[in-house]
């Protein structure tokens, strides 16, 4: 915020222009930069994503290379070496490399679950809202029942029975996450169904499938984006928790949750083996959450007005 305020002090002598719309791409970045916290979040997330995608090139060591003579080496500032910047774990594996490869698993599972649950949930919500009647009742009752019973225990049991593997985790967690999109989509469709342009399209004979895709779906994009980001944060935490419990990513693969459980007994000898995976996980989830709330504020015109008004008041106070 501080940067924004400084910039505004200079400009505040002139009354702020009613509305200036710079070109689109640059506008997005500058708007993002205005909110410092969101900007830092986006930057952090970018680093996580890039290092996850290019993990084999970015990571200094192999994530599963066991070197028992180098076990529990401290991070470089605690007397370690530059070869293992964040130290090594109880089996002598490089913590930084495992963090980088762990990001891969977190993001792949997170994004796949959100995509799968989002597509199915939105489709079901669209159909429920547009068709109404018994289709609506069946779909929404199912969603209610699933929402009434918090799913983590069931997810644990189902994955435990089927055996943990990445596809199983993705499908099971997605089955426990579609409801939120369905509710959101249905709510909006119920409002839109009475709109004039939807009626007009109906009357001119547009078929239901096309109507939903071309006329209803575009209205859902912005709220669904915000919701998906929130869900991404939740799913990343779920994956980490499953891996911590031994029901997610299996060793010798790397996952942030798994790293904590593998090294928890060595807390006394090597706190860094537990601290770093957790803090990276927490910061990633926090970044996603912050971007989600930023998206919500950005896409809500009322909130937008509020922000503008607040800023204007602040400027006036300063010039006085």
């Amino acid at each position: 915020m501080a940067i924004v305020e400084q910039a505004e002090v200079g400009a505040a002598a002139v009354p702020p222009p009613a509305q200036v719309r710079p070109r689109r791409g640059r506008a997005f970045v500058s708007v993002l930069f205005e909110d410092k916290l969101s900007f830092v979040s986006a930057l952090f997330l970018l680093i996580v994503v890039v290092s996850a995608v290019f993990a084999p090139w970015v990571a200094p060591h192999s994530p599963s290379l066991v070197e028992l003579q180098d076990r529990l080496l401290p991070p470089v500032w605690e007397g370690g070496t530059w070869s293992n910047v964040l130290g090594t774990d109880a089996l002598g594996r490089d913590v930084l490399s495992r963090l980088i490869f762990g990001a891969r698993n977190s993001l792949v599972i997170g994004v796949s679950v959100v995509a799968l649950a989002g597509v199915f949930g939105t489709a079901l919500g669209l159909i429920a809202g547009y068709r109404g009647g018994w289709v609506d009742t069946v779909i929404m009752r199912l969603a209610d029942a699933q929402l009434a019973f918090p799913g983590l225990l069931l997810v644990i049991i189902v994955i435990g029975s089927l055996g943990p593997s990445v596809p199983v985790i993705i499908v099971v967690v997605a089955v426990y996450g579609w409801m939120i999109y369905a509710r959101l989509a249905r709510g909006i469709v119920l409002q839109l169904r009475e709109e004039l342009y939807v009626r007009a399209a109906e009357m001119s004979g547009v078929r239901a499938g096309r109507l939903m895709r071309r006329h209803l779906l575009p209205n859902l994009v912005s709220p669904l984006m915000t919701q998906s980001m929130l869900e991404l944060a939740r799913v990343i935490l779920v994956e980490a928790s499953l891996s911590y419990l031994g029901l997610g990513i299996q060793p010798p693969e790397a996952s942030w949750g798994l790293m904590v459980s593998e090294n928890q007994t060595y807390l006394r000898e090597g706190w860094w083996t537990v601290f770093f995976p957790g803090i990276v996980l927490a910061l990633t989830v926090l970044a996603v959450n912050l971007i989600s709330s930023w998206l919500r504020v950005r896409s809500d015109p009322q909130q937008q007005q509020l922000l503008l008004a607040r800023r204007r008041i602040r400027n006036e106070r300063r010039t006085r």
Binding site: F149, L153, I157, A233, G278, V285
Partner: protein, 306 residues
């Protein structure tokens, strides 16, 4: 009121039915329970024997009928590994989980409702922004890591509290704090938005205009109305803790509750024990939901239960 409770009970039965059917389907149709329970490399004889003793050689439809019958009679059979009635094993663990979830929820409310109130008094102020960010961080933190870090600070480094296990009040401190900090972020957020909502209502302006001291407006009027969503959230948090978070926190601290029993049942592939755990947890969650609805009415007399 009575009609309402009956309706909710019916919905609750529906949910429990759905949950138990899911577990039945997953453990008997998608996987072979006998193969899962036997050690690797067992003979065909052992397989047949176990299959027969569990009644798994019957057709699936018949199995399902007996399964539902067992649930109605509350007889799940003996745990495969511990050779004791599964339901007793689960019920034995309930007090520990209740202690943990109860202490965690009370802590979350006592610590974070006041924070939410402070934040709401000056929305957009420095204090508010700091509290909002902190509560967002609390929500973003994985419980298992938070627990491990608390162990590192208070048990390993300072030596104030035991690292894990149960028995004394000291053992309860760290697990309940872990549970409270994780849900506290949500409690603070809801308190804040509910308070802001109430503070902007016309009745607050009226009371101010009549000259009522703002402290009194806050304690006697605003806070009472703002409490309603917090009650709902607290019930929600309890349900979530029972059916999920407790599993994680109990694993971190080796706390002998239902959650750890569930993990044990999963890793030992003890399907009978698993079914009992799911049934008990599902009934607890349903009960919490109904109690929350009734409480909701008690806090807010305007609510009509239908």
């Amino acid at each position: 009121m009575i009609r309402f409770i009956i309706r909710r009970l019916l919905f609750g039965v529906l949910i429990m039915l759905a949950v138990t059917i899911t577990v039945f389907f997953v453990t008997r149709v998608l996987t072979d329970p006998v193969k899962v329970m036997l050690p690797v490399g067992s003979s065909q004889e052992a397989y047949d024997q176990l299959e027969a003793s569990l009644g798994l050689d019957a057709p699936l439809g018949e199995q399902f009928v007996t399964f539902i019958g067992d649930i109605v009679r509350l007889d799940f059979g003996d745990s495969y590994w511990q050779r004791l009635p599964a339901l007793d094993l689960v019920l034995e663990r309930i007090p520990a989980t209740f202690q943990l979830v109860g202490a965690g929820t009370v802590l979350a409310i006592v610590l974070f409702v006041p924070l939410g109130i402070i934040a709401s008094l000056k929305p957009g102020g420095i204090l508010d922004r700091i509290l909002v960010t902190i509560s967002l961080f609390g929500v973003s933190m994985p419980q298992f890591w938070l627990g491990a870090m608390l162990i590192f600070i208070f048990s390993v480094s300072l030596g104030w509290l035991p690292t894990s296990g149960s028995g004394t009040g000291q053992h309860l401190v760290l697990p309940s704090i872990t549970l409270a900090l994780a849900s506290g972020g949500r409690v603070a957020q809801i308190t804040r938005s509910s308070m802001i909502d109430q503070l902007n209502r016309p009745y607050v302006t009226t009371l101010k205009a009549k000259g009522m001291p703002s402290r009194r407006i806050l304690t006697h009027h605003v806070l009472r109305n703002a409490l309603v969503p917090i009650v709902t959230l607290a019930a929600y948090e309890i349900a979530y803790a029972l059916a999920g978070y407790a599993v994680i926190v109990e694993t971190v601290f080796a706390w002998p509750g239902i959650g750890r029993l569930a993990i044990q049942a999963v890793t030992q592939r003890d399907i009978i024990l698993l079914q009992a755990v799911v049934f008990v947890v599902a009934s607890l969650v349903v009960a919490v939901n109904i109690i929350a609805d009734v409480l909701y009415k008690a806090v807010d007399p305007r609510v009509k239960l239908t």
